[in-house]
């Protein structure tokens, strides 16, 4: 089974029933061109060498695998390790993909990068990749998110990017992607669209997975060094799902159990959440077929999560495939559970996690006490929480 699971996507970009290329004709040739260039770069030792070099000297890889001793003691069960993507340059795993795609765009002769961003982490990572490669950069961001994430907006501007205010629709991530795709449709000749997660039309889900799978490759080596064996559980949060796929990919053929944690928001019964597997059905949005939060007519529903990075109506097609196959189990954590885990990690380990990653920690806090001291859990700490500190203070009613 492991082998079948690793052999996706097929030539048409399908992970079982999910994925594909649902885009306007104008973009189809660009997707074929991108696929060809990407597959060539994968086999090109020069490209791989440059990427590896930047991963080491610029991103700061490998990121540590840290044994969270006090958290483990507090939870009183399995030994909990944290994969420290929060220590990567710019503070989250997003940079792994952004640098890879920036190098590829440069190699394809593109002059300009565009991207969507919700919380701003992928926008900052793309702006960083653009600065590094000398490409110009425009970031689409919903006006709701611009208001909530002023710090990241300023960071992107410092990095030389232009931040474009998206005022249509719900004015959040989904609408920023629509605007990004419209821009790409208009400027496809000189522009590369840096999709920030394992979503969108083929080859994005494949390419982003490959750039992120460095997380799991490192973690596998590191846990073997620490413990002399593979882990029993892997836990990661799932928005689009790139940090989760990045951690899981190299373990798909192992016996490790895997858990993806979606945003439960205010609870599934309230309808205010972003748990596509708990509350959605199969649909097609923004280039890919996957699980989607939609109404009975097929219009896309609004979502809610305390963490902007998980606040999205669809999920990467490979996750839908992994769910159907039973290889990965998907659950959710509510806003309140994530906020408690956010404070728990700060207090026990001196690490302030991103609210996105706090959803994975919330699941670890539920699971670890039920396991024995002999069992090993790895949690992907996908980003750091500096960006969320103001937001959390506001929720707690504390003026800063």
């Amino acid at each position: 089974m492991g082998e079948v699971i690793k052999k996706v996507p097929d030539k048409r970009g399908y992970f079982g029933l999910y994925g594909g290329r649902f885009v306007p004709e104008t973009l189809m040739p660009a997707l074929f061109e991108l696929e060809k260039a990407y597959l060539a770069s994968k086999k090109d030792p020069g490209f791989q060498k440059e990427l590896l070099h930047l991963q080491r000297t610029y991103i700061g890889r490998p990121t540590p695998l840290y044994f969270a001793k006090r958290l483990t003691e507090e939870l009183g069960g399995a030994r909990v390790y944290l994969k420290r993507e929060d220590l990567a340059h710019t503070g989250a795993h997003k940079i792994n993909n952004a640098i890879g795609q920036a190098l590829l765009a440069q190699r394809m002769g593109k002059k300009r990068l565009i991207a969507e961003t919700g919380a701003g982490q992928h926008g900052v990572a793309t702006a960083t990749g653009a600065a590094l490669t000398g490409l110009s950069c425009d970031i689409y961001m919903g006006s709701e998110d611009i208001a909530r994430q002023s710090l990241n907006v300023f960071r992107m501007k410092l990095l030389g990017a232009r931040v474009i205010d998206v005022t249509i629709g719900s004015r959040t991530l989904k609408d920023a992607i629509n605007e990004g795709l419209r821009d790409w449709t208009t400027n496809v000749g000189n522009t590369h669209y840096v999709m920030g997660t394992v979503f969108g039309p083929h080859p994005f889900p494949l390419m982003v997975r490959d750039f992120q799978s460095v997380i799991g490759r490192e973690a596998r080596k590191q846990i073997m060094q620490e413990e002399g064996r593979l882990p029993d559980y892997l836990i990661a949060c799932v928005g689009g799902g790139s940090n989760a796929i990045g951690l899981f990919h190299d373990f798909l053929e192992s016996d490790a159990k895997m858990i993806g944690v979606e945003a439960g928001g205010r609870g599934i019964y309230t309808g205010e959440h972003a748990a596509r597997f708990a509350g959605g059905s199969i649909g097609v949005l923004q280039g890919a077929k996957s699980y989607l939060l939609q109404d009975d007519d097929g219009n896309v529903l609004g979502t809610h999560s305390v963490s902007a990075g998980l606040d999205y109506a669809a999920v990467g097609p490979e996750h839908s495939f992994l769910k159907d196959s039973g290889r990965v189990q998907y659950t959710f954590a509510t806003d309140d559970e994530a906020l408690r885990a956010f404070e728990l990690l700060a207090r026990t380990e001196g690490i302030i996690p991103a609210l996105e990653s706090s959803h994975a920690l919330a699941e670890a806090a539920k699971l670890a006490p039920r396991l024995s001291r002999e069992e090993i859990v790895i949690v992907n700490l996908s980003g750091r929480g500096d960006k969320d500190v103001q937001h959390v203070a506001r929720i707690k009613g504390i003026g800063l």
Binding site: R21, F22, P24, R182, T185, Q286, D297, G298, V300
Partner: protein, 258 residues
């Protein structure tokens, strides 16, 4: 032969060109859409394109995005637009196409959609986010029902894609005049004519051109080399104004398309 194919055949015989206006169904209400269809036909439309509102119209510019939002607020669905077309058939036999995004059809069920739409008198559909590669299933059902699935070509299309899309497209081929989204400014690039000549080498099917055509002058220029001219965003804007202005504008477009 489908109603659309017969229409183009008849127009070709007359050595004329097709005028294909687009309006958003349900903007500002389905009753108004019914009246607008009569006005469009009255002003010389050959085929009518009805937009079905979707929450995330990624091939559309601001004018049609806003029209879709207004229609969604009215509770307009794919089902209610199909029923609207059924009610149109009591007074007109003009060919009617729907234009919408794939998720609405996927959710409705492709087989059920083709069955319901063709029995209601819908003649075909344009789905901008459905390239022929992803359309195998709906094409199979459409073939049985003599229902046209119209595919799009763009200035970026390669020769290989021109062959594939031209072969798959039913009724006519929709050529997107600009590298961009609906309602963008048209630049009447001489390359359009040569692209269309290229498509004609691959296929004898009629070619209609749309995206960004707003003035009668532009419509006239495009109709020199196309079999049909599609005008969308500019009409959607005019629908908000007076009926008299709308008729004047439609008549001017009609006169320009020859």
């Amino acid at each position: 032969m489908s109603r659309i194919s017969s229409k183009f055949k008849e127009i070709r015989k007359r050595k004329a060109k097709a005028f294909i206006p687009y309006i958003m169904a349900g903007d500002p209400g389905l009753a108004r859409t019914k009246e607008l269809v009569s006005i469009l036909e009255d002003c010389g439309a050959d085929i009518i394109e009805l937009g079905v509102p979707f929450s995330d119209p990624l091939a559309d510019g601001p004018t049609i995005q806003k029209a879709a939002q207004r229609a969604l607020q009215q509770g307009v669905t794919l089902h209610s637009v199909i029923e609207l077309v059924r009610s149109l058939r009591s007074f007109t036999q003009i060919p009617v196409l729907l234009m919408t995004y794939y998720n609405l059809i996927f959710k409705y069920g492709e087989e059920r959609f083709v069955g319901d739409a063709s029995s209601a008198g819908v003649d075909g559909i344009i789905v901008p986010d459905l390239p022929p590669e992803e359309a195998g299933n709906i094409l199979m059902h459409a073939k049985k029902a003599d229902f046209d699935i119209i595919f799009l070509l763009a200035p970026t299309s390669t020769e290989e894609r021109i062959r594939r899309v031209a072969r798959a497209s039913g009724g006519f081929i929709y050529y997107v005049s600009i590298t961009g989204i609906t309602g963008a400014r048209l630049s009447l690039d001489p390359a359009i004519a040569s692209h269309i000549a290229g498509i004609r080498q691959e296929s004898g099917k009629p070619i209609a051109v749309g995206f960004g055509i707003s003035t009668p002058e532009e419509a006239a220029a495009v109709s020199e080399f196309a079999d049909g001219v599609i005008v969308g965003s500019a009409i959607v804007k005019q629908v908000e104004g007076s009926e008299e202005d709308l008729r004047l504008y439609l008549n001017a477009l009609r006169a320009a398309i020859r």
